[in-house]
C-alpha cells in the first residue's frame, strides 16, 4: 500500500516515524502501531523497512500495476556492515543478494573539522577547498585553472 505493517510484530517504537523522508509513517493513536498514512506519497525507498528493529514493515507493489504475491525483504546490519536482500517472485522463485554498506566502522573515521588547523589567509584567497589540492589527485597535483589548461571563455555558437 505500498509499505504496510505487520501489526503483531510492531511495538510502536517509532523508528520508522523518525526516519521516513516523506513523513507518511505515523503511529495510530488507538492501536499504538505504525501505519502508512498516505500510500500515494510513498516512494518504496525502504528507509522505514531497514530501520524497523522487528522486521514489521513490508512493501507490496502499487496496486495499479503490480499483481499480489511477491516480496522483497531486506536486512541491514550496521555492525557487520552488510545488507542482505531476499526477492520472492509470484511464481515462487527466489533470489538472494548480499553487499557491503561501509568499509569502516560507523562514527570514527570522519574527522571533526573544528579540530583541524584553521586555514590561513592564502588558502582563503585561493580557490582551494579543505584538504586540496592533495585530495584532488592524491598527490601534489594542483587545481585546474583556465590558464594552466590553456583555455579562455569565449562568446558565440560553438557547434
Amino acid at each position: 500500500m505500498p509499505t504496510f505493517v505487520y501489526m503483531t510484530r510492531c511495538d510502536g517504537c517509532g523508528y520508522c516515524v523518525d526516519i521516513c523522508p516523506s513523513d507518511i509513517m505515523h503511529i495510530d493513536e488507538t492501536t499504538r502501531r505504525a501505519y502508512n498514512i498516505e500510500p500515494n506519497m510513498c516512494w518504496e525507498c525502504y528507509s522505514c523497512v531497514k530501520a524497523c528493529p522487528h522486521h514489521a514493515i513490508d512493501v507490496r507493489g502499487y496496486a495499479d500495476f503490480a499483481p499480489l504475491g511477491h516480496s522483497v525483504r531486506v536486512d541491514r546490519d550496521e555492525e557487520r556492515g552488510t545488507i542482505a536482500w531476499k526477492i520472492k517472485f509470484r511464481d515462487g522463485r527466489e533470489k538472494n543478494f548480499l553487499s557491503p554498506i561501509t568499509t569502516k566502522p560507523w562514527g570514527k573515521h570522519i574527522p571533526q573539522l573544528a579540530d583541524v588547523p584553521a586555514p590561513d589567509q592564502s588558502m582563503r584567497d585561493s580557490q582551494l577547498l579543505f584538504n586540496e589540492p592533495k585530495y584532488i589527485r592524491m598527490d601534489e597535483g594542483d587545481l585546474h585553472t583556465l590558464e594552466a589548461a590553456g583555455l579562455k571563455l569565449k562568446e558565440g555558437v560553438y557547434y
Binding site: 523522508p21 510513498c42 518504496e44 530501520a51 568499509t103 580557490q127 583556465l146
Partner: protein, 632 residues
C-alpha cells in the same frame, strides 16, 4: 495560534535542506568558519533525506584525474553537448575540478567504491560514472554534516526566506514549521545556503491511484529549491530545461548502468534497432552540429540524451512500441546478472519489487522501457535553477558578482538542484557545490557584507500568519461538510496537486500530449495557473501533515509558473525529446544561443525575462577515441 515560536538567532550560515548539497555545505562550512555558527534546517531526517535516501549504485560525476582518465574541461565538453550548448561552463568547470577531492573523501569515510582488479582504479560503468555499494551513501555523508553543524533541526519545513529590512535584496534567514510539533521556527542568519530539492510531481505522473507516487525523482522533492528562491526575488535560469527520462516501465529503474556497464541495447517490438533511422529527420531540426552520428563514432562526443528520447518517442508513436531493453544476453553472465539486480536494490528498490510482482526475470525476458513525465531539477542531467555567480578566476563579468554560487540576492547561496546551468553534477557534484558555497559564504561574512542585518517582528509575525492560514481556513469552513473532501470554500493539498499536474501536463508539454506545447497552450495554462494560485489562498489543511503538503504544493506551483514563463520565452525547440514547441519546431541558434534568465518581482508577481550570453570554454571535439553513450 497555539504553536510556540522558537527563534534561533546569530546564525552565520543556515543550510536549508540537507541532501547531498546541504551536507556538503555544512561539512565544509566548519573548516572555513571555525568560529561561525552553522545550522541545518531539514524537512525530513538528514540520515535519509533528499534524492539519495535509498542509496545510489553509482557516483555519476567523477573525473578520475588521479588515474589520468579525464580533466575538468572534458566534462564541460560532455555536459555541453548533452544539453545542446546551453550550460554555464564556468560553474561546470569549477565543480568538475573539485569533484574528485569530494569522492576521495567519501572513500576515506568508508563508502565502498568498487575497484578495477587490473588497474586498481575505480571500477567504471561509463566515462563519468564509477560503481559503488551506495546503500548507505546518505547516512555516511549525514555523519559528516552532523560532525560539522552546531545544530541540526530535523522535520522543519522551511517555507520562506527572511529578507533584510535595512538593505534591499539581502537575505536575513528563513522561517518554517516543525511538521511533528507544529512549532513556528525562525532562523535569523547572516547567510543562507539553499540546498533544497528540485521538483517531482509538477507534471502528471504516468500511473494513477497508489502509483501516482511512484515517480522517478523523490516525491518529497517539492521544488522548494525554486519556490524559496523565486519568492525571494532571485533570478532563475534554464527553467524551461525540464528533463524526461527513459526508464524501465513502472519501476522507474535507471537505464544508465545497463547501457554503459552491462552493454545492453534497446530494440522496438520487432527486435530492430530503431534510433539511427530517426537521425536524418532529426538532423534537419537541430543541425549537424548537434547531431553528427559519424563524429560520435570518431570521438567521445555523445548523442544528446534528449535526441535519443526523440527517437524513442517517434518509434512508439509510429506504432512500433514497446521499446525493450535487451537484458537477456548480458544476464547470462552470473556476475553481470548480480550487478543488474544490485544496481536497483542499492537505489531503486521499487524496480526489483515490480519484477518480483510481475514474474519478470530479465535473464529470460527483455523488460519494457518507457519515457517518464518531466522533472524540473538542476543537479541531474538538466540545469534548472538560480542564476549564480561563478568563481573569480574563471567567470566573465556577466557571470561574476563576487561570491561563488551566490544568487542575485545578497547573502543567498545555492547548491545542488538550486544552482542553474550546472547539469551532470549528480550526487558528488552537488556535495561539491555545497562545499564551494560554504567557503564563499564564510568569505562574504568575513568581508563584512552581512553587517547590520535587521528583521522586524512584523515580518516574522506576518509570515507566521501566512504559514498557518490553511489550518485556520480548514477550521472555519470544515462544517460545510459532514465528512469527505468536497467543500465549496476550499480545496485540500491533494486536490490542488491534481489540478497542477493536469494543467502542466496538458498545457506545458507533459506525457499525455507527447511533450508538445505552443504559445497558445502556454498562455491558457498560465491563465489557469493564476486562478489556481487564487485558490491556493483558500487551501485547507486538516492537520500539520497536510500543512506540510500545502506548502510543498505552493513551492511546486511557484516552480511550475516559472517553467511556463521560461518555456514561453524561448521561442524554439532547443531540446526535442524533452519537450517541443509546436510553433517553433526547429532549434534556432541564430536567435537562441543564449541562456534564459527570469526574475519574479516579489511585490507584484510580475516576471521579467532576459537573455544572457552563453560563454564557451573549450573546443568542440577532442582526440578520436572509443564512442560512448550518454548517461540518462
Amino acid at each position: 495560534m497555539a504553536y510556540k515560536t522558537i527563534v534561533e538567532d546569530n546564525i552565520d550560515i543556515l543550510v536549508c535542506g540537507a541532501g547531498l548539497g546541504g551536507t556538503g555545505a555544512a561539512w565544509e562550512a566548519r573548516f572555513w568558519g571555525q568560529d561561525k555558527k552553522v545550522v541545518i534546517a531539514e524537512k525530513a531526517n538528514i540520515d535519509r533525506s533528499g534524492a539519495v535516501a535509498q542509496g545510489l549504485y553509482a557516483i555519476n560525476c567523477y573525473m578520475g584525474t588521479r588515474w589520468g582518465e579525464n580533466n575538468p574541461e572534458d566534462h564541460v565538453r560532455y555536459a555541453r553537448i548533452d544539453l545542446m550548448g546551453m550550460v554555464r561552463e564556468d560553474l561546470l568547470f569549477d565543480m568538475a575540478r573539485h569533484v574528485d577531492s569530494t569522492v576521495h573523501q567519501f572513500e576515506e569515510w568508508g563508502l565502498p567504491l568498487m575497484r578495477d582488479p587490473k588497474t586498481g582504479a575505480y571500477q567504471r560503468e561509463g566515462r563519468w560514472q564509477i560503481m559503488i555499494h551506495g546503500e548507505s551513501y546518505k547516512p555516511i555523508v549525514a555523519e559528516a554534516a552532523k560532525k560539522s553543524a552546531d545544530t541540526i533541526y530535523n522535520r522543519i519545513c522551511v517555507t520562506h526566506l527572511l529578507m533584510d529590512e535595512s538593505k534591499e535584496n539581502r537575505v536575513a534567514g528563513a522561517v518554517g514549521f516543525n511538521v511533528r510539533t507544529g512549532n513556528y521556527h525562525v532562523f535569523k542568519s547572516k547567510t543562507v545556503i539553499v540546498a533544497a530539492g528540485g521538483a517531482s510531481m509538477i507534471f502528471k505522473p504516468r500511473s494513477v491511484g497508489e502509483g501516482a507516487g511512484r515517480v522517478w525523482y523523490a516525491p518529497w522533492s517539492s521544488g522548494s529549491a525554486y519556490g524559496l528562491l523565486i519568492n525571494a526575488g532571485a533570478k532563475m535560469t534554464q527553467m524551461e530545461n525540464r528533463i524526461v527520462l527513459a526508464r524501465f516501465k513502472d519501476g522507474y529503474g535507471p537505464v544508465g548502468a545497463y547501457f554503459l556497464h552491462l552493454k545492453t541495447r534497446t530494440q522496438n517490438c520487432n527486435g530492430e534497432e530503431y534510433e539511427s533511422k530517426w537521425w536524418p529527420q532529426l538532423q534537419e531540426m537541430v543541425g549537424k552540429e548537434y547531431l553528427d552520428p559519424e563524429a560520435s563514432h570518431r570521438t567521445h562526443r555523445p548523442i544528446p540524451t534528449c535526441l535519443r528520447n526523440h527517437a524513442f518517442l517517434n518509434e512508439v508513436n509510429a506504432g512500433r512500441g514497446p521499446i525493450h531493453m535487451v537484458t537477456m544476453e548480458a544476464f547470462q553472465d552470473p556476475h553481470l546478472e548480480e550487478v543488474g539486480w544490485e544496481n536497483f536494490l542499492g537505489m531503486t528498490v521499487g524496480q526489483a519489487v515490480l519484477w518480483a510482482a510481475t514474474d519478470v526475470d530479465p535473464k529470460n525476458e527483455n523488460p519494457e522501457l518507457t519515457t517518464s513525465e518531466p522533472y524540473v531539477m538542476g543537479s541531474h542531467a538538466t540545469g534548472c535553477g538560480a542564476w549564480c555567480s561563478g568563481p573569480e578566476d574563471v567567470s566573465p563579468p556577466e557571470y561574476f558578482w563576487g561570491y561563488n554560487r551566490m544568487t542575485s540576492v545578497e547573502g543567498l547561496f545555492g547548491a545542488g538542484d538550486a544552482v542553474g546551468g550546472t547539469p551532470h553534477a549528480f550526487s558528488s557534484g552537488s556535495f561539491t557545490e555545497g562545499r564551494l558555497a560554504a567557503k564563499a559564504a564564510c568569505k562574504y561574512i568575513d568581508d563584512g557584507k552581512a553587517d547590520g542585518i535587521r528583521v522586524s517582528d512584523s515580518q516574522i509575525n506576518k509570515r507566521k500568519e501566512e504559514i498557518y492560514k490553511p489550518l485556520e481556513h480548514y477550521k472555519i469552513y470544515r462544517n460545510e461538510v459532514v465528512a469527505g473532501s468536497v467543500n465549496p470554500n476550499y480545496i485540500n493539498p491533494r486536490q490542488g496537486l491534481d489540478r497542477l499536474q493536469k494543467l502542466m501536463d496538458e498545457y506545458c508539454g507533459g506525457v499525455t500530449v507527447s511533450y508538445m506545447t505552443n504559445e497558445k497552450l502556454l498562455n491558457i495554462g498560465l491563465k489557469k495557473m493564476h486562478i489556481l494560485e487564487e485558490d491556493l489562498d483558500k487551501l485547507a489543511a486538516e492537520d500539520i501533515h497536510e500543512l506540510l503538503r500545502a506548502w510543498e504544493l505552493k513551492h511546486r506551483v511557484r516552480t511550475a509558473e516559472s517553467v511556463f514563463h521560461h518555456t514561453l520565452f524561448r521561442k524554439e525547440t532547443r531540446w526535442p525529446g524533452y519537450y517541443y514547441r509546436g510553433d517553433y519546431m526547429k532549434l534556432d541558434d541564430k536567435n537562441w544561443h543564449h541562456l534564459t534568465v527570469s526574475r519574479r518581482d516579489p511585490k507584484t508577481g510580475e516576471y521579467t525575462m532576459e537573455k544572457a550570453p552563453c560563454y564557451h570554454l573549450v573546443d568542440k571535439d577532442e582526440a578520436p577515441a572509443e564512442p560512448e553513450k550518454a548517461e540518462a
